[in-house]
Symmetry: C2
């Protein structure tokens, strides 16, 4: 597969209008379900069908990878935690597993670049690009061949999932140090200064924050040169997992499949995806507003209004899973509520 | 039963501390699940058990009743809609039914004061107090005997539900015109002016808003005289459904059962309940922030931070149901996630 994406269609405008009209016929004051009405209309338009179908297979694809920049001491956790958490995901003990179970979603873990000697199952490593990434403050994250392969992996993953019946996609991520490349990508694409994008990540102290800010400053100097070229930007300042996520988000739009976006790292991938495939963001909704300061820049840039604001900063796709039941409610309300006529209720 | 409530205990402090400590051992950066961590700790403290149990029987009790004030033209819908919607709830076609299904809750509909000739099932009318209520701008809503009976009904309903295994309670409401008494109660208990509490309800136009504001002004003049006496306040400016809801919310606290609060009408009942049984609000969380302006006064007065802000204004308990999956996630995350030690994950 190439790194060129086809033209992205918009969710169906006629279905959108039909869904808005249907909302006025349901047994409730018009507009009284607020944001849930807008979300239901969006799902309906994405499906090209009104009333919309309830989600049959909401799916989290969890992109795991390590980041060379951790050598500069930018995280509160050691890099080995990435591999340990992959094992935790596979055992079902992480937050993403528990929250997916409540929300009725399933989780697929994919190792794009975990730096581990542990034997992981073939279904996890099938799309592996490399171990870790270059230290982006001084060298490229990936080679040309690696970034192309990561983009192909992300597209293949979206295709596999949609072909397998997934009708709502969530990208999650795990990678110690990954808010550093995310901050660089967001700064490069939003024209922001390092201080505006560097957050506390997993919970770093002031000294670590200073090291992270220095790393972001240096990486951003390299990234700005290529910020008009999304593939080159991913090669320079991304990673295999972030490149694959960007391609996954773009390909979801190609496949007309709605996406709930998680927090800042997924947001960085989404910003790049919108550059790779302009219009892809019409197929996404922002599940929440993260604590990470760079996330607000993503939401503004993509013109997305977050559904939740719960001070989340875990990643893994947990923020998106928190909003999934609301999207399910929005979809089923539009699909299953009685109309005034059917229920014999007087209209106002 | 009398209208006197016993002393309200607080959720268990030792369990609260144990739950906070457990959160630090789970495989995620400390604090990274934000509000979900606080909610899980609260549920654990309410249950007096750490780790907390997942909810086995979340339950919506939907209090239906008509309001004499509708004769003054304060609503966008005719009063007959209350009875029609009760039939819709029983048929499963309303928003509350669909959202409860997604959230894994069940719905019980109770007619406290619906003004209808329709034959409703015995299980719906078993607690009926009267048809409609007095027009509160000029007369009391209820007699002394009626308000006492409504409070007894609310307490009995909470007892029945908790005895039946309900471990999370939601009060919902349906009643054309009910945001008018709600506005009066909130203004009386928060010392606010009519203009600060009168909202658009089901979606009224400017002329109707003027009539509603006049009704609230006149009713508030009557209500202020008794605002220090919650039972007299319910008699003067409440209704059977709101009085029963207030007692239900207070009795839930007596029975140490956590409650998710819905919007402005439930909020008015909650303000009165906190007067009836000081400390009851420790057993409640505010599910959302309604569009209705008086709701913000309730949240401030009860010192509750809403979980969601989705421009909802439907009532029925739908706002509380929207937040229920988040409460379930918060509870199960605390109960089911692996610890660093169990999962072999390095701590930061």
């Amino acid at each position: 597969m190439s790194t060129e994406f086809p033209h992205i269609p918009t969710p169906d405008a006629a279905t959108h209008r039909a869904a808005e009209a249907r909302h006025l016929e349901l047994t409730k004051p018009p507009g009284s379900l607020g944001r849930l009405e807008e979300l239901g209309v969006w799902v309906s338009a994405c499906q090209g069908q009104c009333p919309p179908r309830p989600f049959a297979r909401p799916r989290v694809v969890l992109f795991a990878g390590d980041h060379g920049i951790t050598a500069q001491g930018v995280s509160a956790f050691p890099a080995e935690v990435t591999g340990q958490m992959v094992a935790n995901f596979l055992a079902g003990g992480a937050a993403v597993n528990v929250m997916a179970s409540v929300a009725g979603a399933t989780v697929r873990v994919v190792d794009l670049g975990v730096d581990t000697d542990a034997e992981l199952p073939e279904h996890v490593t099938a799309h592996k690009i490399r171990r870790s990434s270059g230290s982006i403050d001084r060298e490229d994250a990936l080679t040309d061949a690696e970034v192309d392969a990561a983009i192909a992996a992300g597209r293949a993953l979206a295709d596999e999932e949609v072909d397998g019946g997934a009708d709502l996609l969530i990208a999650g991520e795990m990678g110690i140090g990954n808010t550093t490349p995310a901050a660089v990508l967001i700064a490069a694409l939003s024209g922001s200064e390092p201080v505006a994008v560097v957050g506390r990540g997993t919970g770093i102290d002031d000294q670590t924050w200073m090291r992270k800010a220095t790393a972001v400053r240096d990486a951003l100097r390299r990234a700005r040169r290529v910020s008009a070229h999304p593939v080159a930007l991913l090669r320079t300042a991304g990673s295999a997992d972030i490149a694959a996520m960007a391609a996954f988000l773009a390909q979801a739009a190609v496949r007309k499949t709605p996406v709930l976006l998680d927090g800042v790292v997924v947001g960085a991938a989404a910003l790049v995806a919108e550059e790779l495939a302009p219009g892809a963001s019409e197929w996404w909704r922002a599940a929440h507003k993260s604590v990470e300061p760079a996330h607000a820049l993503v939401l503004e840039q993509l013109n997305l209004t977050p559904i939740l604001d719960l001070d989340l900063r875990l990643g893994e796709g947990t923020g998106a899973l928190a909003a999934l039941p609301l999207l399910s409610m929005a979809t089923r309300v539009l699909g299953e509520m009685s109309t005034f006529a059917d229920a014999g209720v007087s209209e106002g």
